[in-house]
Structure formats: C-alpha cells, structure tokens
C-alpha cells in the first residue's frame, strides 16, 4: 500500500530505517529489505546519515520500489541549496518516489568530511513548504513547472527536547508547512513520553516513535553519555548480563513496541546495521 494511504488508516504503522552503503555494493541492503517486505509499511532510507558520505538515498529508494518495497526518502538541508533540493524533489518523483522525510541533517563537522561547507540554504520548514509549492506547479522562483509532482511529506521531532513547548511549536509549524507524518529520536522509556503523547494526540499528523535496537551495553552507554539519550540503567544491566546482547536488545525493542502500541500511531525502527533482526522484533511484539 502507498504510504500516504497507510497514513489514512487506523493501522499501527511500522517503518524501518535503512542506510545506504559507503560504496556501490547494494545487495546486502536489498536482501535485508526483502526480509521485511510485507511486514512493514515504509522503508526509510537515510541521506548521508551523521554527515558521513554514502551512496544516495534516491538510488536506494528506486531499487526498493523495483522490488516491491515502499520507500521513504530522507532529505536533509545540509548539502544542497534550493536549486538542487527542488531538482532532487522532482527527480525523486519522476522515479516514482513520493514519500519524502525532511530534516535539517547532522552538521558536517560531526561527519567524515569535517571541512565540507554546511549549506542549510533552506531550513526544514521552508523545504516542506517548497515541496508543497512544487505540487502546485510552481517553483521557488515563481516559475511554472512542466508537470507537477505529488508528495507525502514527513518531518522529525524530538519528544525529549527541552523545552518541550518549543518542540511542539515546531511540530505545529511543520504541519502547517505540509508535514503529514513525523518520526522521532529513539525513545527508551514510555513514561517519559506520556506528556508528549497527550499533547500531540489531536494533531493532524501521524507520529511514529523511534525504537532503537540496542546491540550491546556499550552502545547503550554511548548513547546515554554522548548523545544525552535517556536509557534506563535497568536496560543497560540486562544487556551487559545477557549471553547474547543482540537477542536481549531484540527483547527490549519488542517490549517497548508492545508498550507503545496502544498509545501511539506507530513506530520507526532503527537497527543500525542489524536490519535482518527487525522481523524477529516484530514477531515478539504483543
């Protein structure tokens, strides 16, 4: 089903993140995707994630389409000016890619080409508006298009951001600019999410909560200490004691999804290289 159609249903939505290889060997990624075909609603392909240069999102999205998977193309504001962004939006649509997730993108200084020029010519709100403008058949310069695209647009929100009011004002702005769905940073504690869920329940956009597959206690500690993500010591403990930390990570992710399921629109699963385990997570969800 097209993702835009899925968004209209009452279904619990599941998307998963795939990140393109650094290089041109795409087979292992496509194999992982094949395992998930029919089990999830969208395959979300990152755009030079963490500012590390990789194969482009659009190429993978098109390959996914060819094998019957519904792709969501991530598009950051980091690397392209408004000419390239608009052109790539048209290119994506021409190749059949309609779902676009728009985000600011990690700063080049955090990636592997630290001296790269940060572009940020448009910000995410402006890029959302730009995509909507293209749909009406005009570009940012006000020039008429020969054939206009159709998009299903998404954006990101961080439910743990402080102050939350500022994040929520941003969510509203992004919806006004055209966002139909959101995905969030990874969440490890449903309790902390309650206020956010309550305050976003009535918004006219679906919110997919980020769920991360923790593959080891070290990763959990890194995320907690370096990225400021709230991970309960209880999970870290379970991971460090488990005979197979990956299996324990799968259990934790499945538990989180089971807890979230009655309360939220859907989840966005990030497995960071372990995508072959996503179906195991889904099998364990109650």
């Amino acid at each position: 089903m097209k993702f835009a159609e899925t968004l209209k249903t009452k279904k619990f939505i599941i998307t998963a993140e795939l990140f393109p290889p650094k290089g041109i060997n795409v087979q292992s990624l496509l194999d992982k995707a094949k395992l998930l075909r029919g089990k999830i609603d969208g395959f979300n392909v990152t755009d030079n994630q963490r500012a590390v240069m990789r194969l482009g999102s659009l190429a993978i999205c098109r390959l996914l389409l060819d094998q019957g998977c519904e792709p969501i193309m991530q598009m950051t504001c980091r690397d392209r000016n408004r000419i390239a962004l608009q052109s790539d939006l048209l290119s994506a649509n021409t190749l059949g890619v309609e779902n676009i997730l728009i985000l600011s993108g990690d700063h080049p200084s955090q990636g592997d080409h630290k001296e790269a020029k940060p572009v940020y010519d448009l910000d995410p709100v402006q890029l959302l508006k730009t995509a909507r403008a293209l749909e009406t058949g005009v570009d940012l310069a006000g020039k008429k298009l020969d054939g206009s695209p159709q998009f299903c647009l998404g954006a990101v929100v961080n439910p743990m951001a402080d102050p939350l009011d500022l994040q929520l004002a941003m969510v509203e702005k992004k919806i006004e600019a055209g966002a139909q769905f959101f995905q969030t940073q990874p969440i490890f504690d449903f309790k902390l999410l309650e206020t956010f869920v309550a305050r976003t329940r009535d918004l006219p956009a679906k919110i997919l909560i980020g769920v991360f597959l923790l593959k080891s206690a070290q990763v959990a500690i890194f995320m907690k200490e370096k990225l400021g993500i709230n991970i309960s010591p209880h999970y870290i403990d379970r991971l460090s004691r488990a005979a197979s930390p990956v299996d324990e990570g799968i259990n934790i992710a499945a538990e989180l999804i089971s807890q979230l399921k009655p309360h939220v629109d859907g989840v966005h699963i990030m497995a960071l290289g372990l995508e072959e385990h996503i179906s195991e997570i889904l099998d364990k969800v109650k």
Binding site: Q110, P118, D123, P124, V125, P163, L166, A169, L227
Partner: protein
Amino acid sequence: MIITKQKDIQKILGQLKGKDRVFVVGCAACATKCATGGEEQVRILAEELAKNQKKVTGTIVLDTPCDMRIVKKELLHNEKAGLAESLVLLSCGAGVQSIAQVCPERDLVPALDTLFLGSIERLGNFNQYCSLCGDCIIDETAGLCPVTRCAKALVNGPCGGAVNGKCEVNSGQDCVWILIYEKLQKNPTNIKKYRKIKSNASISKPQRIKTR
C-alpha cells in the same frame, strides 16, 4: 567590527621571498580594536621583518584602509611606501582590496586573516552575532540572530538536538533557539511572531555589491 587575527610570521615571510624593501600598513579602526593592526602591532611586525633581513622603508596606520578615499590621500603617494617593493597590510580583507583597487601596481601581502563581524565582550573575547545576511529578521527572534548563532542557520526553529541547552554541533555553545524561546516567552505578542513561518524569499544573499 571586523575581527582579524595575524598570520604566522613564517607565512608572511614566505610571501615576501625575494623582496627586500617593505612598507607596513596598519588600520586605526577595527584592527586596532582587535589588537592585530594598530600602532603597536605595526611596530612589532616592522621589527620582526627587520630581524629577518628586510629593509622596512616606513610604516603608516591608516584611519580606515577600507575607505578608498583615505587610501588615495594617505597611501597612494606616500614617498616611503613608494620606496618599498611590497606593502605588508595589517587590515581586514576589505582593507586589502581597497588598497589593491587604489594601488593596482603594488605588490601586496595581507598579514591578517579576516574572521567575522564581531561584537566585543571584552578585549580578546569576540562573539559572532551577525553574518551580514542582508535581510534582518531578529525583530521576530527576540533580538538574537538564528542565521548566525544557530549552527545550521535554522530560521524557523530548533533542530531538536540540543543537549542541556547546548548546541548539538558544539557543546561549548548555547543553542540559540532555546535562548530565543526563553526571551520570547516573556512577551506573548513575540510568540505570535515566532509562530509565523519565515519564508525563504530573501534569506540567502551571499554577496551584496553596490557600486553606486
């Protein structure tokens, strides 16, 4: 004012290879305030050059090297400058280019790196608050500029990556959007301004060249 820092002396000497007679030019405005191109720095650089076997034919601190009228009046026909093969310039890039335009025949060696338009907190402590975008929006952002002070120049609101109020790109820097929000909250009409989407019509203006 324009913030500059002095280039490494070895770099300056490298640019002066094969030139024996030099004349040093300073700036009485920004570069003096920055302590990179005032009377004292001009004197020190001249001594340094002399130590390295350069003949310093003279020095001058121009009021504002970025003002071509002043360059014409004070430097173009300066006799001591005329004796030098190269002019060593302790001014920002605008000053260097004004001199280059007024004195097209001269060999120029910029001795400063030009960094940004800065606000002085105290001596040696400069903050970049404005990047001269040509379309000021800070009436809508509580007087704090996101174009410059947000690492991603986001004009509609934050990226969501701040940790403990610090920018996700640089933990030594406050997330300007949190500062903006805190200030806006004190005034509800300002919040309304924040909620209005800022369009992209004219935010990016990499150059503003006005000739007349």
